[in-house]
Amino acid sequence: MHLILFLLLGAGLLVLLFLIARRARPVAGSAQSLREARQALSALQEWALPSGVLERVFAKQDMAYVLSSTPPDVQRLFLQERRKVAFLWVCQVHKSVGLLRNFHLSQARFYERLSLGTEIELAFSFAALLFACRVLQVALYAGGSSAAPWMIEKTAEAVTRLCQVSEKSLEFLSPAPEKAIVDGPASGNFPV
């Protein structure tokens, strides 16, 4: 048992070294990560997360209608296209969450008052969400857009939780902005 643990630790260290050695692009400075985070959030806000889009992509009524009143060719095409759209939706959420994580890490690493508990909680939340997106992709690939509506809901709930934790974690970084949001001109620049 001890031998296996020693060998696993040695192998894990080598894997980590390999990942560090081959990493070409570390997280860039504040400007680029801010731009990427903005892009991610606006992509989510504009088309990936609004309730209308979610309902339409995974609506059962549309499918029931097409399946009951159209020829087989149309049904097949409908299912193919719908799967593609659902797949794109999950890919977009996955990418955006990844960019938000990069943004958070690129900023949090500088702050001495960083909370270890919040950081660990966030890391798990991000990892769980990215994993859920992957599972969703597999489910969509295997069963089409009607395969995993409950999972979509769970993923959206997880994103909501993640946002709450992220917001909380950003509070400690700078106490001043609270005032800036209310009074400052910066509050008018939100891309929302």
Binding site: F6, G10, L13, L44, L54, E112, Q164, P177, G184
Partner: protein, 252 residues
């Protein structure tokens, strides 16, 4: 003959690294790392002389010098912390916390084991003692590398070479010592090759990475501090807006 060739290659590469450090005046930049290289260069030379002229004392000298280099080797990790994590206060805090946790866990494990199992000793032979010390070193290195990887901290060519070379050596030593203490003298011949060969691999990586001075990229902390307040206020606004949209999405 093969063992001696591996030996000579190691000494030659150590000498080459020290020579290059003089050309680029890098010793003042990485004092702990070069102290380690000097220590291994001197001990390798000493061991070679002992092997040739006092072969009966070789075992004693080997284990003594091995523990000396093992302790001096911790300086390489100090160098990693100093150059990689210093500019990032948050990541450094995380790294410090991880290292303290590893030390505390190791200490607690040894103390508890001694209390629970009377007469238990952490290591019954020099091989096991070195293996256990390498284990602590590997755990600390793992924790530091995890922080570097997690926070995507940029490493310059010099530091990346140090990290990769030392990591390979520690991982190979840990695995070969574990196998050796488990199988006894059966794997002695393999261990005599693996241990110095992994060191040669590490020194070769260092010789390439430290051929010339390449400082670690320093983040522009001043620019960040200036734009951070507006950055945070914007981000908080974006996150709040995103949350409300998501809440609508989940509960239409």
């Amino acid at each position: 003959m093969r063992t001696q060739a591996i030996w000579w290659v190691g000494i030659f590469l150590d000498g080459l690294i020290l020579f290059r450090s003089c050309c680029w005046k890098m010793r003042s930049e990485y004092p702990f790392f070069y102290s380690y290289v000097v220590a291994t260069f001197l001990t390798s030379g000493l061991l070679f002389l002992v092997y040739r002229f006092l072969p009966s004392d070789y075992q004693y000298f080997y284990w003594t010098t091995d523990f000396v280099t093992l302790v001096v080797g911790c300086g390489v990790m100090l160098e990693i912390v100093k150059h990689a994590l210093d500019p990032y206060a948050g990541a450094e805090r995380f790294g410090r916390w991880a290292v303290v946790t590893v030390f505390a866990a190791t200490f607690a494990y040894v103390c508890l084991r001694e209390l629970i199992v009377p007469g238990w000793s952490p290591a019954v032979s020099t091989v096991e003692l070195e293996r256990d010390l390498r284990l602590v070193q590997a755990l600390i290195l793992f924790a530091l590398l995890f922080v570097i990887f997690h926070y995507r901290i940029a490493l310059g060519r010099n530091l990346k070479g140090m990290v990769v070379g030392y990591g390979i050596y520690v991982a190979a030593s840990l695995m070969s010592l574990a196998l050796r203490s488990y199988s006894g003298s059966i794997l002695d011949a393999a261990w005599k090759i693996i241990q110095p060969f992994s060191y040669d691999a590490a020194v070769a990586i260092w010789a390439i990475a430290l051929w010339s001075y390449s400082p670690n990229p320093i983040p522009n902390a001043a620019a960040l501090a200036n734009d951070y307040e507006s950055l945070v206020s914007r981000t908080r606004g974006m996150l709040g807006a995103m949350r409300s949209i998501l809440e609508k999405g989940v509960r239409p």
